[in-house]
Amino acid sequence: MTAPLLLTGGRLVDPSQGLDAVGDLLLIDGKVAAIGGAIAGPDGARRIDCAGQVVAPGLIDVHVHLREPGREDVETVATGAHAAVAGGFTAVAAMPNTRPVTDNQATVGFVKRQGEAAGFARVYPYGAITVGQMGETLAEFGEMVAAGAVAVSDDGKPVENAHILRTALEYAQTFGIPVVEHCEVMALAHGGAMHEGTVSARLGLKGIPAEAEEIDVIRCILLAKLTGGHIHLCHLSTKGSVDLVRWGKDQGVRVTAEVCSHHISLTHEAVEGYNTNAKMNPPLRTARDVEALQQGLKDGTIDLLVTDHAPHHYDEKEREFADAPNGIVGLETALGVNVTWLVDRGILTIPQLVDRMSCLPAKVFHLPGGTLATGSISDVTVFDPTRAWVVDPAAFKSKGRNTPYGGQTLRGRATCTIVGGRVVHSLDG
């Protein structure tokens, strides 16, 4: 048993109970024992002074790639979960595009056990929608859920066959899990390396039009409408997508959506100079898209923030732009990026940010946490929203160094991460 923890004098921000006030938080036996006001902790309680810090329910990132099994040279469940807590996340959901694909109960169980063994963030496995992510045969949702899967996705590519996607949305309802779609029309996106627009025209790179995403977004919404299933849309990147999701929600469709920190902070201009650390799928879009995504987050059209943490080996990004793999690491920069681009610029308040990084991910994916209500699990993120720091990729806990934010100064950083009542990350020792 770990000793009771008493976090004193922090700004308690818990949108799940409408709380935003300075006070203490007591954690005992992996549960929230008391919250608010001045709390006299039990004898032997470890006290952590949180004055000037935000004390929030643990941040949850429902979209990460931990590469295990298959590419342990690039990331493992353990290094990814370590990176997560360093960035303030107490839980992550790991996408199933591993090698082999996480499309069965054995692999799901393996990922879950690797997470438990690592002892950093909680690791929730995704199962694949289709066997081998080949888009042809449904994977065994029931078996995978029993082994610990919290959702299904073929992320990395879309489920192109509308019949299969329809069936997945119907079948998943038995288990109460969202079907998570990577929205992309492959025939339109094929060979594309960045957003199709002015910059791609100048650089001579094949573009991916916004419509390649939007056409799939509306297809997903209509299939959710048809089936009554819960569709969750991955990493939306365009204004059109936000408009379509808004329409879907107005229609009462069970659609939820996420956006990545890089899509609310960077534009396709970041690719200038053929910067492979600005290459991801979906690609960085225009300033107009960034603004629409920020507004979508603000008005609730977009439910939550994710990282799409995608580590790659140094050599893999160190090459010709068209041949470099998609994706960037994000677990250790997301909080800073979100505070810098959303809070400091007045798009979101701190409680709204906590809502979209903790409460809503928990709610949408039916995960424990996302609240500091008495009796809930004691996953807590303490962060300093005003702390300025310079991103140093060499210091990442992740094996990945592929970030477009290297050398930049961000504001906002996790100072203490607590999972199950245990301090798993402490910035200042």
Partner: protein, 318 residues
């Protein structure tokens, strides 16, 4: 500081003064190829590697003549495209070459941005001999030199680039160069072969070749690759010629004498008919001659320049 810096990656970003200097240097260099002894000692002792990851006869030979007429030692390396799965990476290839103490690399590569990538990582001068669908700066410069000798100052002159602009590095280099020298630039071709954002580059768009002919002082006709038909950008080469081909009948309706350029190699009977290509308005062979002079000028202006710049670039990219 040198006029051009360490490398020539593209015409985008070059100033009018820089472009004019290259052309002004190229002009007198044309005469060297007319001499009995077609050689000057300028680059004696320098080693230039022509690193071609893509088949090219014309450009490679032109560079090789330019290098030899400037007395450089040249090595040709023709390599199949490096792929992710097999073979050496581009940066390893370059570092290996540099370890053999070379001075300049002329690179042709199917990936846009490859020369820039290389230039940021090695100290040798890097000259882009065509990268993917990005730029082909020496082709752009030789087109400018040719146009200048026929039209005089390009200020206000109207140049239309016709054909597969979407996949053309020549088109991009021409657009930047022509605009820097004050010309009006248009593109003409089927919409499926023009980038969606083409007007953002500051050019006009003509949907019909007949309109371009009415408007222009000169036409730069791009090569149409058979592959474009196979990939579904146009229905057939035959129809392309019918609708967009530069034919004598179309040219005869021009309100003035046009200058006709083509970067080669030509598909006779597709984008350009033989009686136009071989006709009085064609300056296609003059382009080839000017190509050697322009490349000599670029070699002269870059050679041996400022290794300190390479260090700065490396620090920047690190």
């Amino acid at each position: 500081m040198s006029l051009l810096g360490k490398d020539l990656i593209g015409i985008e970003g070059l100033t009018r003064e820089q472009i004019t200097t290259i052309l002004d240097v190229a002009d007198p260099l044309k005469a060297i190829s007319e001499r009995a002894i077609k050689k000057v000692p300028t680059l004696r002792g320098m080693t230039v590697v022509n690193l071609f990851f893509e088949a090219s006869t014309r450009t490679r030979i032109s560079f090789e003549f330019a290098e030899k007429r400037m007395s450089a030692d040249t090595v040709n390396v023709a390599t199949a495209v490096s792929s992710v799965s097999k073979g050496e990476t581009l940066v390893d290839t370059a570092r290996n070459l540099e370890a053999m103490k070379i001075d300049m690399v002329v690179i042709r590569h199917p990936a846009s941005g490859a020369p820039r990538f290389l230039a940021d990582r090695i100290e040798s001068n890097v000259i882009n001999a065509g990268d993917g669908t990005h730029e082909h700066p020496t082709q752009g410069l030789l087109d400018l030199l040719t146009l200048r000798s026929h039209l005089g100052s390009l200020e206000g002159k109207r140049i239309c680039i016709c054909g597969d602009v979407l996949h053309s590095r020549v088109a991009r280099s021409n657009i930047w160069g022509l605009k820097a020298l004050g010309a009006q630039v248009a593109v003409c071709g089927p919409r499926s072969l023009l980038p969606g954002a083409i007007t953002d580059l500051g050019v006009e768009v003509f949907g019909r070749i007949e309109e371009a002919i009415q408007w222009a002082d000169a036409l730069n006709v791009l090569r149409l690759q058979l592959e474009r038909m196979e990939r579904g950008y146009i229905p057939s080469l035959r129809e392309y010629n019918r609708v967009f081909g530069l034919t004598r009948a179309r040219l005869e309706r021009a309100p003035k004498d046009l200058v006709i350029l083509h970067p080669g190699p030509m598909n006779r009977g597709v984008e350009i008919d033989s009686d136009v290509a071989d006709g009085p308005h064609s300056v296609i062979l003059e382009q080839v001659t000017n190509g050697v002079a322009v490349r000599m000028a670029v070699l002269y202006l870059l050679a041996g320049n400022a290794p300190a710049l390479a260090d700065a670039a490396k620090a920047e990219s690190a």
